[in-house]
Every structure is written in structure tokens, then in C-alpha cells.
Symmetry: C2
């Protein structure tokens, strides 16, 4: 995990289809050296997968919301986690500090789809309380966070 690896991750985060030749030109390495580094970055788990950034609006998911969840006292937390992980509308769900147990980021076609989602959580007895916050617009969105060009941590992974 040196500065060249981070540059490669940055280039691929911008365009995962960049050719080994182009990446090599950007980091002063031959295509095969770049390939070997990408192989190692993938094997070591730094790169989890090559994926897409899509426009969910066009796909019919007009609503983005954050649902704060307080788990019921008698809820099976492991069951809740696997339910939430396999729910198609859930983009993210994190166990968090503070007054709430979990924060789930969900995408729905319409506002009306949120209530059935909450109802299901309640029916399964996961939910004690919840609070839903709707995202009106997005000011920033980045799939990969990297250190600013100069500084940053080294020798990990």
C-alpha cells in the first residue's frame, strides 16, 4: 500500500474501465506491473469489487431516506441484521452510537413505500421506535474516500 497503489485506486475509482496502459502512463509503470498491483489490491481486500455508480432516480427509486431505528428489547439482533442486509431497499445499515441503535439508508420508488417497510420491521418485532429523515437533494457523493494528494496513512493492508 504505497502512494502508487493509492493513485491506482483513485484512477480506478474514477473509471474502473481504465486500461492498464493508461493507468501505467499515469503512474509511470508498465501495464503488467499495474496489473500485478491491481491483482494484489484485490487479493488483499483493498478493492472489494468492481461496481457501478448508477442514477437511482432514472431506475425509478425517487426517494432516498435515512431511517433511525431503536431495536426492541426482545429483538434478535442477529436476525435483524440479516433481514436488513438482505432487504432490497436497504443501501446501507450501520450500528451507531447515540440514542438510536441503527441507521439505515434506504431507497424507495415513492414516499408511500416507506410505511410498509417500517410496518414489516414492526411486525417482525425488531422495532421499538424509529425516525425517518428524507433526503431532499444531494450535495456530495463519492464512492471512494482517499487521503488528500500529499499526506495520509501508509503500510496498511
Amino acid at each position: 500500500m504505497d502512494i502508487t497503489d493509492r493513485k491506482i485506486v483513485g484512477i480506478l475509482a474514477d473509471d474502473a474501465r481504465a486500461s492498464l496502459t493508461d493507468i501505467g502512463a499515469a503512474v509511470d509503470l508498465s501495464p503488467s506491473a499495474v496489473n500485478e498491483r491491481i491483482r494484489r489490491l484485490t487479493a488483499s481486500g483493498v478493492i472489494r469489487r468492481f461496481t457501478l455508480d448508477v442514477d437511482h432516480r432514472i431506475l425509478g427509486f425517487d426517494v432516498l431516506a435515512f431511517v433511525w431505528i431503536a431495536l426492541a428489547n426482545d429483538a434478535d439482533e442477529g436476525e435483524f441484521r440479516s433481514f436488513i442486509a438482505s432487504h432490497p431497499a436497504v443501501a446501507e445499515c450501520h450500528h451507531v452510537t447515540g440514542a438510536w441503535s441503527y441507521c439505515a439508508k434506504v431507497r424507495m420508488p415513492t414516499l408511500g413505500d416507506i410505511e410498509p417497510f417500517l410496518s414489516e420491521l414492526k411486525a417482525r418485532r425488531y422495532l421499538a421506535r424509529s425516525e425517518t429523515v428524507i433526503a431532499l437533494s444531494t450535495a456530495a457523493e463519492r464512492s471512494v474516500t482517499l487521503p488528500a494528494p500529499d499526506g495520509g496513512k501508509r503500510d496498511r493492508g
Copy 2:
């Protein structure tokens, strides 16, 4: 945007490096037909870009936090938005309903890096109040949200 397009998006979301041949086999189309569909999906903006899913822990970003922001009365909202969009630690930032103005998802190397971030927001006079929630663990994470295999909206984009 038919069911085949959605299947292609789903396959690419899982593995953006899947070959046209393999995708074609999965959706019963020739490689060149798949290629043309991907070109159209990209041109129409459904696919915004090909990117990576990375492990930020290994990259040295051990802390994931949600920062709730109430903008100061005299804050220049446009300025705030471009500041937050260009800040390297900010993974997402949404304008939200409810008691707060914005919700920012940030990644930091350590907990100690959060305070300087808040200080900078304050120094720039964007911040009235804020509340920071730390993510302890992640139960779900998906880059792309698609309708469940059967149903879903059609004829968009």
C-alpha cells in the same frame, strides 16, 4: 429500460468487469447487443460510471461517522455545498427534512480527525449546531439498489 437492461445493470453492479460474452450468456443476447445496451445505459445516465467498492479500513479510514448539520442563519448555502462536495473526507452529504439542514457521511483516519472538521465548518461560519453519530459496525452495504427480481417500475430513462 426494460428487464434486460436491469439485469445487465445488476450483473455489472456485482462485477463491472464481467465480459460482454458472459453477460450475453446470462441475458440471452450477443456480445455486441450487450455492448450497445451498456453504451445506451451510459449515454442515458443510468450508469454514471464504473467504479470500485473499497475497504476503507485497510486504506486507513477507520472511522465512519454521520454529521448532522444545522446551517447558520447567515451561511451561504451554495458556498457550503461546494465546500462540502470538495472536502476529501465527505463521502455523502444530503439536504434533509427534519430538525437538521444536512446529513454528511464522513470517513476519517481517527476519531480525533472529526473535531478539526467541525472546527473548519464553524470557522467558515456555516455551522450553527451539529451532532455527530459514529458508526460502530456495518450490517448492510450495497452500491446499487434494484427492484426485486419480479416487480418494479418500467419505462424510465
